[in-house]
Assembly symmetry: C2
Homo-oligomer: 105 residues x 2
DNA sequence: TAAAGTCTAGCACTTAGTGCCATAGATTAC
DNA sequence: GTAATCTATGGCACTAAGTGCTAGACTTTA
């Protein structure tokens, strides 16, 4: 069940080939919508994936939490399925998944 | 009023010079606490700073929100001071502030 | 003139996230 | 051997961040 706002970005791209051909004429300031297309899709994060991610980075829950600017207790809850990251938290986890902990340092 | 968990990372570092000298002997897997020290401090984000940040990146609220995986409405609320980003959201904004929108693409 | 993008705004609502504390199993120090 | 520290779980109460929806006004593009 993809939430509505997820498709807002996609909705912003209901421009067809006509726009694409125009991209060449855009200066860097206005080709925002096109950039949005290049966002890495965000997959859901299961408890197992989160823990695997953290252990892959060889960080304790406390340290991992510090990197994400959240509480250690929350990381524990994520890994036990008590709470489910979404929005900015999910984005941050995806970032770490893709690029490693260092990028958020 | 720095929240408690903010100092957890710092609390994890109540190791003195004795530990620091030991760092040389640590392998990469266990020098976590030391890494935590290198986290860029997170400053609070005022509405003005958020808007300045977004306009600096030349993104509409909708596109900006897409990057952060939040709703456009929330970005609007941040910029009007109706809601205050914290935790993962704040971390994400700080990241964009420091490294630009591209790093979260 | 219409269509679409941009932002504000309000309202109802859910639940993520915090704070605190107590427990217990590992490690490490002394 | 035992005290300290790190580790993680778990519970409980609570706040407010964040979502969803919708309508309005303004500006830009076609």
């Amino acid at each position: 069940m993809p939430s509505k706002h997820r498709s807002d970005a996609l909705a912003a791209i209901h421009e067809t080939a006509a726009d694409l051909h125009r991209v060449g004429g855009m200066d860097q300031k206005t080709m925002r919508k096109f950039d949005a297309l290049c966002l890495t899709p965000i997959q859901e994060m299961t408890p197992k994936k989160i823990r695997a991610l953290r252990t892959r980075e060889k960080a304790s829950q406390t340290v991992f939490a510090a990197y994400l600017n959240v509480t250690p207790g929350l990381v524990s809850k994520w890994e036990r399925g008590e709470k489910h990251p979404q929005g900015a938290s999910l984005k941050l986890l995806s970032l770490v998944d893709k690029k490693g902990l260092e990028v958020v340092a």
